[in-house]
């Protein structure tokens, strides 16, 4: 009995906490890596085509995104498989575009409003009909700067 007590008392109980910050950092990194920075959830399938003559979209705050593509499989029961327009995070019709543009516009300082660009993220398989309707509506709303989103194709 006495021998047992003696042994416990001798070992120092302090555990080194020097590595605790590192563990926390590791957790931080884990979440940094796993997090996807995307503000809108895509409800349509968009696989943009390839192109070479690309311009970068400079200021994210001056860009609004319009997605066109087939609804994801889980929405096809409700919305069918015909290509649809998605504004923000919901399915929309072409008639909703002016309000969508206006909502984005009020968030932008007045001096920069001319620089607002609409980025059209359109699936390559979509036919031009719906794209044309969207383009016409953008023109009617006075939104002339448009960027056809595309992936970079290496030219040889």
């Amino acid at each position: 009995m006495s021998k047992f007590n003696k042994k416990r008392g001798k070992s120092s109980p302090a555990i080194s906490t020097a590595s605790l910050p590192d563990i926390i950092f590791m957790l931080l990194f884990f979440f940094m890596v796993v997090t996807v920075l995307r503000d809108t959830e895509l409800k349509v399938q968009v696989n943009t085509p390839f192109a070479t003559e690309l311009t970068k979209l400079e200021k994210k705050s001056l860009v609004n995104f319009l997605y066109i593509g087939k609804p994801n499989p889980e929405f096809q029961d409700l919305y069918g498989s015909k290509p649809r327009l998605q504004l923000g995070d919901k399915f929309s019709s072409v008639a909703d575009i002016p309000l969508f543009l206006e909502k984005h516009k009020v968030k932008v300082p007045e001096a920069q409003r001319d620089a607002i660009t609409s980025s059209l993220k359109v699936d390559g398989k979509v036919t031009m009909g719906i794209v044309q309707d969207v383009k016409t509506e953008l023109r009617k709303s006075g939104q002339q700067k448009v960027n056809y989103s595309a992936k970079r194709k290496e030219s040889f």
Partner: protein
Amino acid sequence: MAKTSLRDRISNEINAGSMADIAFLLLIFFLVTTTIEEDEGILVRLPPWSEEEPETQKLRERNVFSVLVNASNQLLVRGEVTNVASLKQRAKEFIRNPQAREDLAESPGKAIVSLKNDRGTSYETYISVYNELQAAYNELRNEEAMRRFGKQYENLSSDQRQVVRNTIPMILSEAEPTAFGEEN
């Protein structure tokens, strides 16, 4: 007794000094390997909307480079069936007209590219056609910039760019598509 205390002391002191280095290595690894997705695309300026019918301008046929894309994604350039691969070369030749041919544009400033598609044309084809036309103009502007200023177009000052743009303006007119082959 002395032996036990020595063993205890050793097992309690693990050197934690290298932990920070490991964490930094991880951080640097992810910093290097992460690619932040960039949004890129073809920038276009749509024409302003007007309710009235646009007045029809009489254009000389030699100045118009008409590109028609049908619902089965076939190309008709100036009345000839063509493919996307040769479109850029043809457009460049038309705009520049180096041999001053009678049937090509009088000058780059007068050249008009007219693009018309069906509602059934796939977006992929439309973008590749648009991309080729844009590429033709970009290359011509680059050549003009090299000839005048000895620099690539993108390295020019804004005044110099304006000069090049005035020499080779990009006039691309898009007609209302014909309602054909619409997906239902």
